[in-house]
Every structure is written in structure tokens, then in C-alpha cells.
């Protein structure tokens, strides 16, 4: 099914803590099938924008729509998979197996007072298989390596079969081989599940080669377009973070990658 609505539609959103604006009139549309790298320096408002999109902060100015529905009325939360930055810093002494952790990703979808079903168990196994952790399902999650733990949280985000996957600084704190493995995993997920992916990073490095579009945020949106154009415009990289506003807002074509 192809809907014409963008997966995410951010319109004129401003947000501040107290008087200071953290986000200033942000407009951003993410098309179905897009693989967006959202980059910006530390403190540029990336996490705030994410929290608004995820419904963790109230939208006070402007409007955010998810799959066409205003975020405050959006109920099908299972359609959005989320891997938090701090997922890597959870309580490693928590006595839960990999399987138990991934299953928590189905809690809301199954509904209050309902027990998990055999199809839920199957979904958990499939999600674990996708990230290559099925053999580890009975291990305590705190005993795995950092890269493996990250994949557990990706599996938890995937288990509800979402259409949009949002990852906040996923490669922070994992080693180079885990990073390479991570990008390969996202590539295969996009191919197999047709996922729309947003990857948030403060590092322009590796992600420019992976994503299909880049958005550059520093209180305002400075750029949203193809990574190739961004790379050639070195000036923009320099201005990045300064008061010079250059919105090159050509919308990313829906090239149907995986969608």
C-alpha cells in the first residue's frame, strides 16, 4: 500500500526550554523509503526534535504529523521503532534475557491485560534472527558485548514490524567492526522490510556514504537534500553552525528504494 502522506511531516516547529529556542521554525518532510541522516553538532536540537517526533515532548509551536496524523493523536505507535542513544547505558545488572527484552517491544501492541501469544513469540524470534542474535536469545542481556546489546535494542524496535525506524547516535561507543556490521544490518533491513530510516548523528563521517538524504540541523534546518550535494558544498560544512542560513530545501525524490 502506498500512501501519499510523508512518513514524517514537521511544519514550522519551534521549541524552547524557557526563553531560548532550541529549534527555530523547522520544516522537514521525510518520504516513505527515505534513509535520512540527521546531523548536527552536540546541542543542536537533534534529540529535542526526535523527542517531539516520538511524542516524548509536547509540540507547542507548529505541527508534526506521523503518517498523516498529528503526533498528539497518533495511536499506532508500533509503526515507529526507536533505538535510543542511552539504550547502550542501561542497567547491565538487570536480570532479563535477550528474548525477554525484545518481547517488551510488543507490550503496547498486544494491549493491556492481554498475554503474549505464539505469534508474538514467532515475531520475537524473527526479529532476533534479523539482527543475527537468535542463538543468544536465552543469554542475559547485560552479559553481551556493546555491539550485541545495540542489536538487541534494534531487534526490540523491529519486533512490532514498524514502518519507520529511528536511531539516535547508534554508533557511539561501539567499535569499528560493530559499526560496519551496523550499517550492513540497516541496509539489509531497508531492503527486506522497506523501512524508512532516520539515523541521528553528530558525526558527518561514515553516514554520508550510507544515507539517501542528509538533513543538517543546528537550531534551524540548514540543509535537506542528497548527501552528494552536501559533500560538494564545502562552504556549507563550514557555515554549519553559524548564523548563515542556507536552506537548500529540494525535496528528496522518492526513488522507491526498498519501498
Amino acid at each position: 500500500m502506498v500512501t501519499t502522506n510523508p512518513v514524517i511531516d514537521v511544519r514550522d516547529v519551534s521549541f524552547g526550554y524557557g526563553k531560548d529556542l532550541v529549534l527555530d521554525r523547522i520544516n522537514l518532510r521525510v518520504a516513505r523509503g527515505e534513509y535520512l541522516g540527521l546531523i548536527g553538532p552536540n546541542g543542536s536540537g537533534k534529540t529535542t526534535l526526535l523527542r517531539l517526533i516520538l511524542g516524548l515532548l509536547p509540540v507547542t509551536q507548529g505541527e508534526i504529523r506521523l503518517f498523516g496524523t498529528p503526533v498528539q493523536r497518533f495511536r499506532d505507535r508500533w509503526r515507529v521503532g526507536y533505538v535510543a542513544q542511552k539504550a547502550a547505558s542501561f542497567n547491565t545488572a538487570f536480570p532479563a534475557t535477550v528474548e525477554e527484552v525484545v518481547r517488551t517491544g510488543l507490550t503496547a501492541r498486544r494491549g493491556l491485560l492481554k498475554r503474549f501469544t505464539s505469534s508474538d513469540r514467532l515475531a520475537v524470534r524473527q526479529a532476533l534472527d534479523r539482527v543475527g542474535l537468535l542463538p543468544y536469545k536465552d543469554r542475559l542481556v547485560g552479559r553481551l558485548s556493546g555491539g550485541q546489546q545495540q542489536r538487541v535494542f534494534i531487534a526490540r524496535a523491529l519486533v512490532s514490524r514498524p514502518e519507520l525506524l529511528i536511531l539516535d547516535e547508534p554508533t557511539v561507543g561501539v567499535d569499528a567492526s560493530a559499526e560496519g556490521q551496523f550499517y550492513r544490518l540497516i541496509r539489509s533491513l531497508r531492503k527486506e522490510m522497506g523501512l524508512t530510516v532516520i539515523l541521528v548523528s553528530h558525526d558527518i563521517g561514515a553516514i554520508t556514504q550510507e544515507v539517501s538524504s542528509l538533513a543538517c540541523l543546528n537550531r534551524r534546518l540548514f540543509y535537506h537534500g542528497s548527501p552528494a550535494d552536501f559533500g560538494t558544498d564545502e562552504q556549507l560544512c563550514e557555515f554549519y553552525g553559524h548564523e548563515v542560513v542556507r536552506i537548500v530545501h529540494h525535496h528528496h525524490p522518492e526513488e522507491g528504494e526498498g519501498a
Binding site: 505507535r77 517488551t104 501492541r109
Partner: protein, 269 residues
């Protein structure tokens, strides 16, 4: 042993003790994993103030204790929002306030020192038939809620933010959880006393966390250690004529130490 089981007061003690042995560590596991191990302590002092109120006003003390605990658990949630950065402050404030109130009320209700001691240190052997009925009904209700909300409680305990992103009604779930804690504290207090309530909620859990290989396992082991502590503790107390509440909790601590020692020895080998 057989003789012990034929005494009516020991039968009541065992029934009440076993119910508490199942309920207290199950709720305690979630409490410990939410890093609120001292929460039970604060609530037990609130319950004590409630019991004192009951004694003063000639109402059934277990009932007033229950009511106080539930009210305080909701109040603590409100206090915690005022001290977002220091959530343990809410626990400390409630503990201090409740203990002060309990001391004042208990001194007003003076004359029944034995009764006061019973609630401070527990007196499982004076558990009445009414107590057993109340403990059974409320205990069953707590376990039923735990069973029905197991997946929600696990999800919110493991990662509250993720549960919120998923659309779970976090506020309602947390509120209900604190009410369950309050009920558990009030029940447990009748058995081991105000000063030892949180130990029965925390110590078996501490032992279980040392050996558990899954969350389910941690829950079942916590309960198993709770039951073992109550059975062994009550028997010891009966045979050696010791204070039952203290003996039960001391048995739980002994189990924990044995497990720690065993793990240490295995590592050395």
C-alpha cells in the same frame, strides 16, 4: 514440627507468613530494579502511623494502616515530581514525616505497649482469623494485578522511556504499582513488623539476583527464597523460642550470604 502444625495460632502464622512470602519478594523485585529499595521502608513507617491512628480511634489497625500506605504512595508520587532531580528526597521526607507522626500517635495511644511492639517488630503468632482473611484477600488481589500487568510492569521497569514511546499509559501503570507496593507493605508489616518489612521485600530479591538467568527466573527465585525464609524462620523461632519476624528476615539474610559465599568459592576454584 507436627506439634507446631497442630496449634491454631501457628497454622494462622504459617498461612499469613506464606502469603507474605510470595507477595513481598515479587513486588520487591520490581521495587529493587526500579532502584527504590528504600521505598518500602518509608511506606512501612507510614503504615505504622496508620496503625497508631487505628489504635487511637478504635478502628481495625490493619485497615487504617492499609489506607495510610496507599495515600502515602500516591503522595510520594506527587513529591517526587517536586524533587525530580533528587527522587530519593521524596522517600526520605515521607519516611521522616511518617515516623514522627507515628511516634506522636503511639505516645498518645500509650498503654498498649505490647500492641505497639507487635507492629514494630511483628507478631505473627498473634495473627487473628480476621487478619488471615484480610491478608489472603488483599494478597490474592496484589498477585492477580501482578499477573495481569506482568508484561507492562516489566517493560516500564526495564526502560520507562521506551515504554512511553510505545504508547503505554506509564502514569497509570506506575500509580497502580505504587498502590500494590503500599498494600504489600501493610500486609507484610503484620507478619515481620514495621522495621523489617522492606527486608522481606529486598533480601530474597538480593539473593535471587545473584543467581537468576532470566527475569522470570529472578521472580520465581525471589519467591522461593521468600518461602524458604518464612518456613525455616518460623520453625526456628518456634523451636528456639525466638522473635519470629527477626528470625524470618535473618534466615533470608543467611540464604543471601550462603549464595554469595558459594559464588565466591566457585570463582576461586
Amino acid at each position: 514440627m507436627i506439634e507446631m502444625l497442630s496449634l491454631a495460632f501457628m497454622q494462622r502464622a504459617l498461612v499469613a507468613g506464606l502469603i507474605v512470602a510470595v507477595v513481598a519478594p515479587s513486588i520487591g523485585l520490581f521495587l529493587v530494579l526500579r532502584r527504590l529499595a528504600l521505598y518500602g521502608d518509608a511506606l512501612s513507617h507510614v503504615t505504622l502511623a496508620g496503625v497508631a491512628t487505628g489504635m487511637l480511634t478504635n478502628t481495625y489497625p490493619v485497615a487504617t494502616g492499609l489506607a495510610f500506605a496507599v495515600a502515602a504512595s500516591l503522595g510520594m508520587d506527587w513529591l517526587r515530581q517536586s524533587y525530580r532531580r533528587y527522587s530519593e528526597m521524596a522517600v526520605a521526607i515521607v519516611l521522616a514525616g511518617a515516623l514522627a507522626l507515628a511516634v506522636i500517635l503511639l505516645s498518645l495511644a500509650a498503654g498498649s505497649t505490647g500492641e505497639i511492639m507487635a507492629y514494630l517488630f511483628g507478631s505473627i503468632v498473634t495473627v487473628s482469623a480476621t487478619d488471615v482473611r484480610v491478608i489472603s484477600v488483599v494478597g490474592a488481589a496484589v498477585l492477580l494485578c501482578l499477573f495481569l500487568l506482568y508484561k507492562e510492569l516489566l517493560a516500564t521497569t526495564f526502560d520507562e522511556e521506551y515504554a512511553r514511546v510505545g504508547g503505554l499509559p506509564i502514569k497509570a501503570i506506575n500509580m497502580l504499582f505504587y498502590v500494590l507496593v503500599a498494600l504489600t507493605v501493610a500486609l507484610t508489616m503484620r507478619v515481620v513488623g514495621a522495621l523489617l518489612v522492606s527486608s522481606l521485600m529486598v533480601v530474597p530479591v538480593g539473593a535471587a539476583l545473584q543467581v537468576a538467568r532470566s527475569f522470570r527466573g529472578a521472580l520465581l527465585l525471589s519467591v522461593a527464597f521468600g518461602i524458604a525464609s518464612v518456613l525455616a524462620g518460623l520453625t526456628l523461632a518456634y523451636v528456639l523460642d525466638l522473635a519470629p519476624g527477626g528470625t524470618v528476615v535473618f534466615t533470608a539474610v543467611a540464604i543471601l550470604l550462603l549464595i554469595l559465599a558459594y559464588k565466591r568459592l566457585r570463582r576461586i576454584e
